[in-house]
Amino acid sequence: MSRDEGSGIVTGDGTAAPTEGPTAAGVRAVCDRLARAAPGLRARSWREIADVLGAVGERFLDPGDALRAEALDALPEEAGYSPAMAERVLDGMARDWTADRIHAMVAAEFEAPACLDGPCLVGGRRLLAVGPTLCLQIVAGSVPGVGVSALVRSLVLKAPTLLKPGLGDVSLPELYARGLSAIDPELAGALVVLYWPGEAAELRDEALAAAEVAVVYGGDTTVRAVRAAAPATTRVVAYHHRVGLAVIGRDALGAGLEAVARELSLAVATFDQRGCVCPHSVYVEGGLEEATRLADALGRALERLESELPSGPLASEEGAALQQLRGSAELVAATRGGSVRHGGGKPWTVIVEPEDEGVGPPTLARGVRVQPVDDPRDVAHRVASVGRHLQTVAHAGLGSRVEAVASALARVGASRIVPLARTSFPPPWWLHDGRGPLRELVRWAEVDPG
């Protein structure tokens, strides 16, 4: 493992990184080196690779491990989280980096996982599942840990991986690469973590030209730009901007209201509303009275959470945006009905809006909108206009109507409908934006032995 401070390159195999800052030629050299690591990777079984990847991942969960300590040291400043939130996020993400979870992910994705190691019978055909010859992972950086989950996905498929982290999620993949090099230099040679600024298009294009598959996590503009720049022969797997919402049925508004509010507050607070799983809008069965009751309980829960899982510090620009959200919501509430409660100097904000207000833009910094809905099955219709940006729907108190509500929401765009308590951390085998996390990356080869 070596790290060249000037280059921002972390490699796994101990070879010297370029001494200058990242250049297109440097990216090309990195891609060439990764290609050379491919044969060694392909000679190993996926199980062996998963075990090594898991051994590194487990270090992030071990309270006595130096790698975890370094991660917890770096995360608050890098990601803008409080230390308590950094720990919650690391625990939630690293839980999926263990050998057991990686094995389970492969098993969930492939009917016959052996097809990753050689042709085998799948549904009456002999098939080989081939990972990309080079996988470029361009990660957004809004949620720390996504970068490591991404590199685990491609490495377990035996794909040499160039990971371009986003600001906010640089340390974890770098630490992971270092951990990998300590126990398996050969596997570490198939991984490079290299940061370059978003506007350095020539570096991105060099990597895109070399990659068989490019995975991009980011806003719609980033995704559009990567798609436009990718050669016809590079497959782009895109995870564009997504948001979550919550649907709360009448059954959750009785004696269990405070518990539901607590779970909802955790879903809102985890990742400080920067994750695609975070609920930005909450639809409450009933009228303004029910919505207000839930909002009051949610406000209390968010206030309590500020001592347990404090919000991260707000940049001036984020504070300014929060004031726009609060101030305009107050004006609208005074004019058209509804109400606003917030934490003053603490950034949580709960806005109750009348039913006819329409779907609002995503909030920020533990802000959330609450709207009443007569029948939870109508939420799908209400949010259809933003359906292509929908991802996780959290639910509570829907009883036997869960499947009807879920089906309607799935048909407008949602891909994950889960109980409130499971909102924040999906398992590694989740159908990420509706697609298998590993199946999406492989190329199938049909083998007819004749």
Partner: protein, 368 residues
Amino acid sequence: MSSGFDRLRRALEDDFDASSGEPWSDEHFERRALEVFHAQYEGCAPLRALCDARGVTPDAVGSWRDVPLVPTAAFKQLDLVSAPAGPDARVFRTSGTTRGRSARGRHHVPRPSLYRAALRGPLRAALLPDRASIRFVSLIPAPDAVPDSSLSFMIGAAAEAFADGVDWLVDAEGRWSPRAAEVWADVVSSGEPVLLVGTALAFVHALEREGRAEPVLARLPEGSRVMETGGFKGSGREIGRTRMYAALAGRIGLPESRIVNEYGMTELCSQLWETVLCDGEERGRSHLPAPWLRVRALDPVSLEPLPEGQEGVLAFYDLANAGSVSHVLTEDIGAIVDGRVRLKGRAPGAEPRGCSRAMDEMMSAAGR
């Protein structure tokens, strides 16, 4: 009510016209500010509803600082207008690139004469301290081509007041006029100074054209000056602005100190100007508000006023906004130093965290 509003409007216009450019006394500003608040409380139903909800009625307000702030985001959700529309009323729209349910904010200006009166004195001081009129060459589209653009309206109003003639070189779709070369040949041969006005992005585009297509800029006669506005504020392109000024100055053959930045926004009828033509680069690169525009830097989370020199979110009380709402909270970050505003640009290369950019994309994708 309309006649009451018009009495107030006339008084304000008289004040603006009579203003020497020196700051108004606190007493005079306060008196006018509270008159304006009374009119807005009476005329603007959303503002009145908010005031009533907070118990902030005209009787209870002793200072303009106590008037509830209206965020610029609210201009996207509500019609904030305090007087019936006059015959020449305008509705200016924002570009639609900021967050909100509606893609575009709308600023109702029921009496544009107040806007014109607020524009003249500060613009003259910033751009024409040495002469009564000048030829305008505009890279901003003409007001009749973009009737809902406050910027085009502003340039049109400035031209009415101070232009010997105007050449509009860019149309509403951003296309360069085929007359550009002819206009510049005439400017060069006349030897008379001009005022070149444009947005930062228009200048960038003009400079990028150099060498690739027919030039749309020329070396300007001595005594010429440039008004540049918008484009870089908070966009992470502060380095771009420095480079652009150097490139532009080189191309038009004037020192950078002849380029004056205007800071304004659709939601405000008054402007702030750099004063480099009079004060030079050192002092003149901060923005001087019009005397009837009070500006404060507030703590972004608590909204408490910050001490001199400390950066915060900028809030304005603009008497020229009498026809809509005057106490406006922006998303811009800056510090107040010696009565002037020092705008903060985002650190070069910094990428905002989270989905603040993405949410705009999402709402525009939803067609809102």
